[in-house]
């Protein structure tokens, strides 16, 4: 404790409660999962050591591979859409007016709502017989599909609902980023004869890239773990077209009694998230500009 210096020693006391929680409920389970991934365990009988057996089985597991592909499909659709929409919202609302304040609150509201509530609400709105979405479409003469029950539309619906929920979160981060950029930079650009389009791409956006990186990392980590909305909206269907990795983990752990196998899946998922995050930070030098 000497290395903390006497005046700073107290912080450890304040941090201790959350640190304890973190150790007991996060670090310890992670360690347990690491050990378990080398065992076969059905919770009822003693764990049996299987070496790399779980990982070898995982390599040939078509269901897991399909879930991984669906997760990547989700990411490919969700991450770019929510970033672009969040950024556009932030740019539109980046001014001081009553309307902009109200709009910010409105767009941020879905972020605060619980996923279960949001997903159930959308499940009704997307209902093919009584849903408001298809009713609106019918007003313009379009017969809407059975969104959550058709293979071509189910994943698109899940992505759409996710974008709707999270765009406000991305917007808030970008708004904070925009607020940190001094107005002089843009003014200077305009004095030099730039049009708004050029001013955005040459001045604002480069200065915003640290926030873009942050948003990207957060979205990637979250979207690899996509689960609640899928579970409620489609339960992995139709025809297994929306099964995702976390859904496989939950099923194996709690329905199939395959704790070890599920732990192995968690570690594979972690490896994916970890390497993507490392890659993102590694390549940031190419496009992220720090310092205004």
């Amino acid at each position: 404790m000497i290395w903390l210096g006497s005046d700073r020693r107290w912080w450890i006391v304040f941090v201790a409660p959350s640190l304890t929680m973190l150790l007991v409920f996060t670090v310890a389970p992670i360690a347990a999962a690491a050990v378990l991934s080398f065992y076969r365990w059905d919770l009822l009988t003693s764990p049996e050591y299987v070496g790399l057996g779980n990982f070898i089985e995982l390599a040939g597991d078509d269901g897991f591979r399909a879930a991984l592909v669906h997760t990547l499909t989700f990411i490919a659709g969700y991450v770019p859409s929510v970033m672009v929409i969040g950024l556009v919202l932030a740019l539109l609302l980046n001014r001081r007016s009553r309307l902009s304040g109200v709009s910010r609150v409105v767009f941020f509201m879905p972020v605060v709502a619980a996923w279960v509530a949001v997903a159930l609400m959308w499940k009704w709105m997307l209902n093919s017989r009584f849903g408001v979405v298809n009713w609106v479409l019918s007003l313009v003469g379009v017969e809407g599909p059975a969104w959550l029950f058709e293979r071509g539309w189910a994943m698109a619906s899940v992505i759409g609902v996710s974008v709707w929920k999270d765009a406000g979160f991305v917007m808030i981060l970008f708004l904070a980023g925009l607020a940190a950029i001094p107005a002089e930079h843009r003014e200077a650009a305009f004095v030099d004869g730039a049009n708004p389009w050029q001013a955005f791409w040459r001045v604002t956006f480069p200065l915003l890239t640290p926030v873009v990186l942050l948003v990207l990392i957060i979205l990637m980590i979250n979207s690899f773990q996509v689960f609640e909305q899928v579970w409620i909206l489609t339960e992995g269907g139709p025809l297994g077209s929306t099964t995702v990795v976390v859904e496989r983990i939950v099923k194996n752990a709690f329905s199939f009694g395959r704790m070890g196998y599920a732990a192995a899946m968690s570690w594979v998922l972690f490896a994916f998230i970890f390497s993507v995050t490392v890659l993102q930070t590694r390549f940031q030098k190419r496009w992220v500009h720090y310092g205004a």
Partner: protein, 445 residues
């Protein structure tokens, strides 16, 4: 300063790792759930038995874990416990409940944590898994020492279902079954004769077509296209998943035909597709007057009570032979409990499953049906209408089908449901789907 910053970095890394690993969150919630449900409705019955003069020793307290009692039948369970404790002042029963969807996860977790309840409920499908893994106590020593025990009092197929390899690991507590329900108003309007208890598939199909032809928003029939309906339809068509030698026969012609029969209802527009239902449940569609007939469980009796049309039930039609679902719930004693708790738990379960008092309370509450042969117990039940033909519930016991069960049950059901869905979508033929089902089931054995 530098060290502090390093610590912060370390902490942030930990937070990131925490955020990245989602299974652990799930594990955490389960633990907390266990903690909260253990404190659930326990009390009421336990408190009431202090009237008896206290025996020299402390009463043995046992924990009983159930899914079927909560939330609707807790009063009935409490009444049973009061009656039991009056007869057995040396035993106290503490109730723990969980909803069916979480029940087995919680039970597994408790077993894994060496905190298994002394007595607990198991449905037949999960019973085999728990029995073969050594978590259940052999009831033989208790039943043979108990002069009041009468195995014959139970409906025998149910009693036998809770034994593995000649060892009785559980007692049957209750059962429910599935019937063919029909909307009499739709039949009357179309001038079609009502179904009867001795119908076969051909009559069911022809009638369903006739009803479907009467209007755009009326379908003739509904039965779930999934594992539970499929093994029963297969049985009705003379095909079983497993042969006497344990070989997998799920792709035999009888089974393929049964699956094709189920799928054709949907493909031919006699039964609504999932898209046409658009998330409305089959029971609600029946209540909306959109289905002429529906295959569903007797647990829907209360839900259909308020229907604004007249409905009734018949025994489900079979093809080459009759066959009705038999969903049995049993109860068992934990192998991990102390001997005195096991003995007390056994006495409670014997009372719960076979005493007249408990059976009467159960029937009066319509909490499924007791698995006892004494017909007089059902008098009150049969008098309730609708449905008028309630006797059909008992008649359906003449030909029962129990689910095909393996140790890796949940995975088998999951695999079959996926393949049945593929066959339904037309992505595979019934034959292809069941050929693959055979391979997948064999891999699970």
């Amino acid at each position: 300063m530098k060290t502090t910053r390093r610590l912060w970095v370390l902490l942030s890394v930990l937070v990131l790792v925490a955020a990245a690993c989602s299974t652990d969150d799930t594990t955490d919630t389960t633990t907390t759930q266990t903690a909260t449900t253990t404190e659930a409705p326990g009390g009421a019955g336990t408190e009431t038995t202090t009237t008896e003069p206290p025996p020299s020793e402390e009463p043995t307290t046992i924990r009983y874990f159930t899914f079927s009692a909560a939330p609707d039948n807790l009063d009935a369970l409490d009444a049973m416990i009061v009656a039991f404790e009056a007869e057995n002042p040396d035993v106290k029963v503490e109730v723990e409940t969980a909803p069916f969807d979480n029940y087995f996860t919680l039970l597994q977790t408790q077993v894994a944590g060496n905190d298994a309840p002394d007595a607990f409920e198991l449905n037949f499908e999960n019973f085999v898994t728990f029995a073969t893994k050594g978590t259940l106590a052999d009831l033989g020593p208790f039943t043979s020492a108990d002069t009041g025990f009468d195995g014959e009092a139970y409906y025998q197929p149910a009693f036998d279902a809770f034994a593995v390899g000649g060892t009785q690991y559980g007692l049957p507590a209750s059962y429910s079954t599935v019937m063919l329900f029909y909307n009499q108003d739709i039949f009357d309007a179309a001038g079609i004769d009502y179904p009867t208890d001795d119908w076969t598939w051909a009559e069911e199909r022809a009638t369903a077509e006739a009803i479907a032809a009467t209007g755009d928003n009326v379908w003739g029939f509904f039965a779930g296209v999934h594992y539970w309906e499929f093994y029963k339809a297969a049985w009705q068509n003379g095909c079983e998943f497993f042969g006497a030698d344990g070989s997998v026969q799920v792709n035999e012609p009888g089974c393929v035909e049964a699956l094709q029969f189920m799928i054709d209802y949907v493909n031919d527009g006699v039964q609504p597709t999932a898209a046409e239902m658009g998330g409305v449940s089959d029971g609600d569609m029946f209540l909306n007057g959109e289905l002429g007939m529906i295959t569903t469980g007797i647990w829907m009796f209360s839900g259909f009570e308020g229907a604004d049309f007249t409905w009734d039930v018949v025994v489900e039609p079979g093809n080459t032979r009759g066959g009705s679902h038999f969903f049995a719930n049993g109860v068992a004693v934990s192998a991990a409990s102390d001997a005195d708790k096991q003995e007390a738990a056994y006495r409670w379960l014997r009372f719960f499953t076979s005493s007249d008092e408990a059976a009467k309370i159960r029937v009066a509450a319509s909490w499924e049906l007791p698995t006892l042969t004494d017909a007089s117990l059902y008098d009150g039940y049969l008098a309730i209408e609708p449905p008028a033909n309630r006797e059909a519930v008992l008649a359906s016991l003449e030909n029962v089908v129990v689910p095909p069960v393996i140790e890796r049950q949940a995975e088998m059901q999951d695999a079959l449901n996926g393949l049945i869905e593929r066959a339904l979508s037309g992505e595979m033929t019934a034959q292809e789907a069941l050929d693959q089902a055979k391979a997948e089931i064999e891999a699970l054995l």
